[in-house]
């Protein structure tokens, strides 16, 4: 049984052109999307770590997340916590129950 392979010559340039155009469009989009997603990811993770650590401190329970360099300032009315994750800084304030407004 014989098989016939048809190779159209002269189309490699067309493919390379399409590849280059695709790269021009897709690569910046991918980089921008990855940067945006990465930034949001770091911010969310930072906020979540801060929330958990500060809340554990407020409840006098052991923090669930260790190795968190959370700065906690406790006053008679509330508990303020701050966490720096790289260039991201998150702050949170939990009022003590006697002073909380709902």
């Amino acid at each position: 049984m014989s098989s016939l392979i048809v190779v159209k010559t002269g189309e490699s340039g067309q493919s390379l052109l399409e590849f280059a155009v695709s790269l021009l469009v897709i690569v910046p989009v991918l980089i921008a999307a990855a940067g945006l997603l990465g930034g949001e990811w770091r911010r969310t993770r930072c906020a979540y770590r801060l929330f958990e650590t500060a809340r554990a401190q407020l409840n006098r329970t052991r923090p669930m997340l260790q190795n968190s360099f959370v700065q906690i300032q406790e006053t008679s009315e509330d508990l303020r916590a701050q966490l720096h994750c790289g260039n991201i800084s998150e702050q949170i304030r939990f009022p003590k129950l006697e002073y909380a407004q709902f």
Binding site: S3, E18, L37, R55, K96
Partner: protein
């Protein structure tokens, strides 16, 4: 048999794969972020719920205890007013007002307890909870001076615990007496504070 090869798609395929990987990882990251957001949202909802119900319990207990003090004072005043009987009717009216205030607070708390177990309050179906503390006040029958103040039946607990949760999220509060008396004759008021959930304490004891 005719087998034709076309290399036009060979370059687009890796690009498609890259886009697919990015999209899938983006969906995954977004899903995890959304999960965290939901956890925080649930926690804040539980905190608001426990916080508001704890403050309500504290306020109602303080109101009842304040009314109790007023009732005792009014009853003493009624005894003293036997020297001036015209003062007795307004004093008795004041006494009745304090009784009505106490009964209204007790009834309102009973209603809140009912709402709590039927998810009509701030809890949502699917949340778990500990029953709200009962106000074990009882009133002795009236004596010639009029209605009696309320008395706590049984030993007075050191604190009251309110707790609810959903899944892994829990919120708990304690209502306890302030350590200092603010007024010389007054009983120390009740205060509310966040506390360690019993669920966590049970887990800590288990291990």
């Amino acid at each position: 048999m005719r087998n034709s090869k076309n290399n036009m798609g060979s370059l687009h395929f890796p690009m498609l794969m890259a886009v697919a990987v990015l999209v899938l990882s983006g969906i995954g990251v977004w899903g995890l972020m959304n999960h965290w957001r939901m956890l925080v949202g649930t926690q804040l909802r539980l905190d608001r719920c426990i916080g508001s119900i704890s403050q309500e319990f504290r306020n109602r207990m303080n109101t009842i205890e304040r009314a109790n003090s007023n009732i005792k004072r009014l009853r003493l005043a009624i005894v003293a007013a036997t020297l001036e009987p015209s003062l007795i009717p307004p004093l008795k009216a004041g006494l009745t007002l304090e009784i009505v205030l106490q009964d209204a607070n007790l009834a309102a708390w009973k209603l809140r307890q009912l709402q709590w177990v039927t998810y009509q309050g701030c809890l949502k179906p699917g949340d778990w909870y500990l029953p709200l503390p009962s106000m074990q006040w009882t009133r002795l029958p009236d004596d010639p001076l009029g209605p009696m103040p309320l008395q706590w039946s049984g030993a007075s607990p050191g604190f009251f615990h309110i707790e609810a949760g959903r899944g892994s999220r829990t919120s708990a509060a304690q209502i306890l007496r302030e350590s200092e008396k603010r007024e010389f004759y007054a009983q120390p008021k009740l205060m509310a504070r966040w506390t360690t959930p019993k669920k966590f304490l049970a887990r800590a004891n288990l291990y």
